[in-house]
């Protein structure tokens, strides 16, 4: 039996060592789609954090009762339920952001990070580590998205959270708010991180 890593290690692993976007390159669809404005990214992040934490916790609670061969159906059901609840709340209380995010809130259901963590960690571990694993992983996803969004909004619109920060004569980089801008940013970001912290990646080999 391998020894279960400490809670702190589990959290750190999700947040940084095995960061879902930088190391595993998961959840890219939403990374590309919602990072053109910081405010959209913040709402998306909140949605993902809630979904992943709650799903991991629930899947872990049910782990001893769920028959192995239907576990994926159960995981899907749990994840979808939480996502739909998030979607209902955004539609009811943040209607403008709901329109801006379009289908992407619903698509958290198919975000491979969520099911990945449920399948790889939560269904095999007790609720508290599962919850921390979900929290670490979702925060790891969130901070990467937020950095990309800050750069894209600054260069693409000259603003952050809608507040003008670039001088008046600033020429906006239109490509930054289009999908290719997200690809460039993500690629450059992963490149920088892996250049500065290569050992972590190579250890995993």
């Amino acid at each position: 039996m391998p020894v279960l890593p400490s809670n702190k290690e589990i959290f750190k692993k999700g947040l940084w060592i095995e960061n879902p976007v930088l190391r595993q390159v998961l959840g890219i669809c939403s990374t590309l789609a919602v990072t053109n404005l910081v405010v959209n990214t913040l709402v998306m992040n909140a949605g993902l954090i809630f979904t992943l934490v709650m799903s991991s916790w629930t899947v872990s609670l049910l782990r001893n009762y769920t028959p192995d061969r239907i576990r994926m159906m159960v995981q899907m059901l749990v994840i979808s339920s939480y996502v739909i609840i998030v979607d209902i709340f955004i539609k009811a209380y943040l209607p403008d952001i709901s329109v801006a995010l379009g289908p992407y809130v619903g698509l958290i259901i198919t975000n491979c990070i969520v099911m990945g963590r449920c399948e790889a960690f939560a269904r095999l571990n007790p609720p508290v580590p599962a919850l921390l694993d979900g929290l670490g992983t979702s925060l790891g996803y969130s901070f990467v998205l937020l950095i990309i969004a800050v750069v894209r909004e600054t260069l693409g619109f000259g603003t952050i959270l809608g507040i003008q920060i670039m001088p008046d004569g600033f020429v906006k980089w239109t490509i930054m708010i289009m999908a290719p801008g997200a690809f460039f940013m993500l690629g450059i970001f992963i490149w920088i991180v892996r250049s500065f912290y290569p050992q972590i990646y190579e250890e995993k080999g």
Partner: protein
């Protein structure tokens, strides 16, 4: 066999629990969500008819003002919205929606016309998938505001109502500034609105006259 039965019953119970919770949450928020959707659509109509809603008004206020000041009128395949002044008697103008191809996808707009069918009083491009920062700038206030006051008259009753020109080069009232760097979107808007305004003047106005 016993294992299979357990799986089925287990899945059934888990599904029942989760769907009940989700349905409950939905039911509790149903009214608010529907109001938001309605308010979103109605605020566009109020905007082009220049019917004022208090600044920062919530969805409920928008729905209330709309119910008081606007009446829909169904004419064959079109729906026209008749805007009334605050006294509720005199007509302020008419609003109708125009949807057609943009550069990347459909552009939807709402157009407000005054009660004599002689001028545009407001326009709102409420839905598009044009390039952010370029074509999508047709939703910015300066672009939409140019249409306010545009006369709905043409030489010999034919031709164009307006032309979008490169920004800064317009000379007459019928020339409006295009969005710099968004030639395709500007051309699409020019073509779509000229065509649909023509249809409105030729086909819809006589129908409205007959109805009221």
């Amino acid at each position: 066999m016993k294992k299979g039965l357990y799986s089925v019953i287990y899945m059934f119970i888990v599904t029942l629990c989760f769907t009940s919770v989700v349905s409950g949450v939905r039911l509790l928020n149903e009214e608010k969500i529907l109001t938001n959707i309605e308010a979103r659509r109605q605020s566009v109509i109020l905007d082009v008819l220049k019917i004022k809603v208090g600044a920062g008004a919530g969805p409920e206020e928008i729905v209330r003002v709309f119910a008081k000041n606007v009446k829909p009128l169904r004419l064959n395949e079109d729906t026209i919205y008749i805007g009334y002044d605050d006294d509720g008697l005199s007509v302020k103008g008419y609003a109708f929606s125009v949807t057609g191809p943009g550069f990347w996808g459909p552009i939807s707009s709402m157009v407000g016309i005054d009660k004599e069918y002689s001028r545009i009083i407001g326009i709102n491009f409420f839905d598009n998938v044009e390039t952010p920062g370029l074509g999508a700038r047709i939703t910015e206030d300066w672009f939409q505001a140019q249409f306010t006051g545009l006369p709905l008259e043409r030489k010999d009753g034919r031709g164009r109502f307006f032309t979008l020109k490169q920004a800064g080069t317009r000379k007459t009232l019928k020339e409006l500034d295009a969005v710099t760097g968004a030639t395709q979107t500007s051309e699409a808007v020019d073509k779509l609105l000229n065509k649909e305004l023509n249809r409105f003047v030729q086909e819809v106005v006589p129908l409205i006259r007959k109805e009221i």
